[in-house]
């Protein structure tokens, strides 16, 4: 990607004349050019837009109540009145998928945001202050990271009980070390920068230097990581729910639905599991593509 960036930068454009201040292309035009140049961004934002619109519009205008049981219409295949069919209780799978997408999307974003905030603040302290504080934090991180993150989240969820809030906490705890480590290493490279020294030479307080000069310049890698993490979180939360230790039925959470439909796949009622499964895939893909794009940009501009 670095190569294409150089190529684009070298193109003689409208701002050829260096003596006049560069006229910035309009935001919309810039966004379009960026989309056409980075397929990751194009596919990622398309998927993300689809998922977000489905989640929001679906919640307002879902054809059925996702929890409404109708025994008379159980296990109907996809058709005109039930686009994705119905499950064994006669609930409309389309409405459930639409609701579930919203639930998983929200949980994914909340987990990533929490992990980002907590992880980057602790990572900042660890990397910038250093010394024994750093040692202690890093040893704790080592311990936490010695468990596979999904297993850790699973054990925490089992211990603290599986409400939505607890599932979020469990997955967040499992993710914090990754953001923390990344922030710390990024801070270590930034802390020696001249502008940090310059701010200190100008008499800035340590907290100011950390918040204003170190963190914003070290935030790139953890932000990319958090983008990717939104996708992983959706996967992990639906995975926990699938195993029965995450969000509980009758919630239309996607993992719950996949689990619920699993026993019907062999008997031919594939739609109960497949549609929520596809929704999970699309949501995770959206964040993966966006994360990859962010990663490319970050590497491209890295010195």
């Amino acid at each position: 990607m670095g190569v294409t960036d150089v190529g684009v930068g070298a193109q003689p454009g409208p701002q050829y004349d260096a003596s006049t201040p560069a006229r910035r292309p309009s935001r919309a035009r810039h966004a379009l050019a960026e989309l056409s140049r980075h397929p990751n961004l194009a596919v990622g934002s398309l998927l993300a837009a689809l998922v977000v619109i489905v989640a929001i519009v679906g919640r307002i205008a879902a054809p059925y109540n996702p929890l409404a049981i109708n025994a008379g219409r159980a296990l109907l295949p996809p058709g005109a009145s039930h686009w994705f069919g119905t499950d064994e209780f006669g609930r409309d799978v389309f409405s459930r998928v639409v609701y579930g997408t919203g639930i998983d999307l929200l949980i994914g974003l909340v987990v990533a945001a929490l992990a980002l905030v907590v992880g980057s603040v602790i990572g900042l302290i660890s990397g910038y202050v250093g010394g024994w504080i750093d040692d202690i934090i890093m040893r704790i991180v080592d311990i936490v990271m010695s468990f596979p993150s999904f297993l850790l989240a699973l054990s925490i969820a089992v211990v603290i009980g599986n409400t939505v809030r607890n599932v979020i906490i469990a997955v967040t705890i499992a993710y914090i070390p990754y953001i923390l480590r990344l922030t710390r290493s990024s801070v270590l490279t930034v802390r020696g920068a001249d502008y940090v020294l310059g701010a200190r030479a100008a008499g800035a307080l340590r907290s100011r230097v950390m918040a204003l000069h170190v963190l914003p310049n070290a935030a790139g890698p953890p932000l990319v990581q958090a983008t990717l993490m939104s996708g992983w979180a959706i996967l992990d939360v639906s995975g926990l729910s699938f195993l029965g230790v995450g969000i509980q039925p009758p919630s239309p959470e996607l993992g719950v639905q996949v689990a619920q439909g699993a026993s019907y796949i062999t008997s031919g009622q594939w739609w109960i599991s497949v549609f929520p499964g596809v929704a999970i895939i699309l949501a995770v893909l959206a964040f993966n593509f966006l994360g990859d794009y962010a990663d490319d940009k970050l590497r491209g501009q890295g010195s």
Binding site: A201, G203, P216, N217
Partner: protein
């Protein structure tokens, strides 16, 4: 600043006395003495790795973690700021002593608008009222045309020379007694170099601050400074009034540097200008202890 240690000797400006700094057991500064009077300009010359920058960083208490002051002290306005067991530089940084760096672009925070960076320094000093206007005034004072436009720009939108002017604006924002300029022009081209040095000289004579000008280029230093200290292997090997050092260098290493300056001045078909005079006599007494 009130002189707390008046022993008949005038203690003002920046005084570095017998400073020794070690990095992991290896001594990198081996007894450095430098004295910068208010209003004077002292040049610190030496090859890379001779300890010039470390001297500067040590006097601001900005040494890297691995380095430690093992002996000697630094005084600012007669007050001890750095000793082997104490570091009081946090209180004087910015308002007592400020520093500008070699690579101006790297010395500005890339994610903050220039104006905000200057405002932050003012805010720290406790300046009240219209910080924005004050920062624009400062940018104008360092010779930036269209200062209000520059204030709204990010460092990457400015040239190296403009960035260095911004750095200087930040350095002088709190009206320090001493400005340490560590190779302020090395990364800039020659014409810009002269402008920046003129600006520093101009600010020095207007505000009465002392300047410690660090450079590997004896020619640059000789033109601007009243006195010169030459560093090598972590020691000051020669110090004195510019005229004396340039005309009759004692140390063979200095002599070699002086010869190089003369030669390049001749090849450039320019008259060698050993010293423009200035407050040379004021700093002459610090020569060689």
């Amino acid at each position: 600043m009130i002189s707390s240690a008046g022993k008949g000797r005038r203690l003002s400006g920046l005084q570095i006395e017998g400073l020794r700094v070690a990095i992991g057991g290896r001594e990198v500064l081996r007894g450095v003495d430098v004295h910068v009077e208010p209003g004077s300009c002292v040049g610190l010359v030496g090859e890379s790795g001779s300890g010039k920058s470390l001297t500067a960083l040590a006097s601001l208490g900005l040494l890297p973690r691995v380095a430690r002051v093992t002996a000697g002290r630094v005084l600012l306005g007669g007050k001890e700021t750095v000793t082997p067991d104490r570091d009081r530089t946090a209180q004087v940084r910015g308002s007592g002593i400020a520093m500008i760096f070699q690579s101006p672009r790297a010395a500005l925070n890339p994610v903050l608008r220039v104006g905000r960076q200057v405002e932050r320094v003012l805010q720290r000093k406790g300046v009240r009222g219209d910080l924005r206007r004050r920062s624009v005034e400062l940018l104008a004072a360092v010779g930036l045309l269209q200062p209000d436009k520059v204030a709204r720009q990010y460092p990457h939108e400015l040239s190296g020379g403009m960035c260095q002017r911004v750095m200087i604006a930040m350095g002088i924002a709190c009206e320090p007694q001493i400005l340490v300029a560590d190779e302020p022009t090395t990364a800039l081209d020659v014409t810009v170099q002269a402008d920046i040095l003129d600006l520093i000289g101009d600010l020095r004579s207007r505000t009465g601050m002392g300047v410690l000008l660090i450079s590997h280029d004896l020619g640059v230093v000789a033109e601007r400074c009243g006195s010169i200290s030459v560093m090598r292997h972590g020691k000051i090997i020669e110090a004195g009034a510019t005229r004396t050092v340039m005309n009759s260098p004692c140390h063979p290493f200095t002599a070699e540097l002086v010869r190089d300056v003369m030669r390049s001045a001749q090849t450039a078909d320019l008259p060698a200008r050993p010293s423009p005079g200035g407050p040379a006599e004021a700093s002459a007494r610090e020569a060689q202890g």
